[in-house]
Symmetry: C2
Subunit: 280 residues, 2 copies
């Protein structure tokens, strides 16, 4: 099968590598608005060739859209308009509701499968692409009842070959859940980095003491604004809800410290320890 | 050398293992108010024997206090009163100002070296003790001018054998810096866990989507309240300062989302990306 990857960055590039390795595709065409990325991706042997979207669609069965969600919303109508029964269009965007609204009722809607691999790193670009990024991670497929059976089958087969766990939900659920287990983590990391960088201006030696715990909570702050601003924009209501709740929790802790109510603080930490049952 | 470790948990236990392995001590006496921990530590061959503090001090040259900072403040006067010129007393507490105030002017002050290894995990107890916890990590020694030269030499030799980087500061600096690069990370992790656990009650499927980014920012929420409440208590002013600043940053992000000022939000994330220069 010939597959086209639109967006040859961290996710698209890692998919390209893995699809070839697992035998899902034997030829990968890369499409990228950045010529530099395309050249880089070919140098790194992530893709076999670069092409325009139009040319690539003429020759590919599977088209994977792996670009930031705002760019995705812009390009998707064109891709859908040119989709034929021979095509399977799959996106891997981090928010789903707006994308699903956009394709709803399109005559070629059945050829589209909305997917989100819950995997990534804080790096971006073709150089960040790695093997095994997806192994044992979760792939969410959204609103699959609106996809044609044969298109869904192609994607489900891909998920299996990638050794991913499969979860089905609707777009509304997806966007709510990712706000809680992904988007807020990035917000807190960005904010924490800003807090500490601000302080460093006065206190140059702060980072001498940084250790694993700090790195763990702040590493997501290396993530690209090109990817994350569109996510926050498209999932604004959910992100605002969870951010509100998070600020409330922090304010409660602040008040307990101010009033020196360490007993209640102790109980709060005990309660938060229940996260152990979730994390391995 | 015979060494006594008071508190045979994660830090004390890991120290015990490493001191033996690196030949700093050839016999380790464990002291712990929990009989169960002592038995466990001996079973795991972390310590060679358990003893009372008094007996242990009679036979040891090096006494390492590896207990939560509130318990440390309680036990330290007794240890200092019984210290002789043959002893080196070293603590590994996570806050330093109050401890240094407590020993200031004590007739045996010179025998005491205030230390803080910037290493740990989110686990606790003797079972959590591991080899190589300290390798390539930073050891902070505080106010060393008030320690006797020979006592300091014993600790500096230990730091070298543990293959740790050595940093000197005063207690005030230490407590300020750790508030920024350690204590606030724990607060945000606890608060994030509470935020998400709260939501899970309504939305059971949330954790199906949790991936590496979430785990990274929340893993510190597994940390023990026995260790952390005393830290927040003793470093209350610094922690409140940084918590205030962190809440401000989050509120700023919230306002930008509310007003849909994505341009400024983009710039903020770019600014926070500068944390790259700190983290590897």
């Amino acid at each position: 099968m010939i597959a086209t990857i639109v967006g040859t960055g961290l996710i698209g590039g890692s998919l390209a590598i893995t699809l070839k390795e697992k035998g899902v595709a034997n030829w990968i065409i890369g499409v990228d608005q950045s010529e530099a990325n395309l050249v880089k991706a070919q140098e790194l042997k992530i893709i076999d060739e670069g092409a325009s979207l139009k040319d690539a669609m003429l020759r590919s069965k599977l088209i994977i859209l792996a670009i930031p969600v705002d760019a995705l919303l812009q390009i998707l109508p064109t891709v859908m308009d040119h989709a034929g029964p021979e095509h399977v269009i799959m996106d891997v965007g981090s928010t789903k509701e707006k994308i699903l609204q956009l394709v709803a009722g399109h005559p070629n809607r059945g050829r589209f499968v909305a997917a989100h691999p819950m995997a990534g790193t804080e790096y971006s670009g073709p150089e960040a692409a790695i093997k095994n990024l997806f192994t044992q991670k979760t792939m969410v497929l959204c609103d699959v009842k609106n996809s044609d059976e044969d298109a869904l089958e192609v994607v489900e087969n891909l998920v299996e070959k990638l050794q991913m766990r499969l979860v089905y939900m609707n777009g509304v659920e997806h966007d709510l859940h990712t706000a809680y287990v992904s988007h807020i983590s990035h917000i807190t990391s960005f904010a924490l980095a800003l807090t500490v960088l601000e302080k460093e201006k006065e206190q140059g030696r702060i980072f001498e003491l940084a250790s694993g715990g700090f790195e763990s909570t702040v590493r997501l702050a290396k993530s690209s604004p090109d990817m994350w601003v569109p996510i926050f924009k498209h999932n604004r209501n959910n992100v605002l809800d969870v951010l509100d709740e998070h600020i409330n929790q922090l304010q409660q802790m602040k008040q307990l410290l101010e009033s020196e109510d360490y007993e209640t603080f102790y109980k709060l930490i005990q309660k938060s320890n229940k996260i152990r049952k979730i994390l391995k």
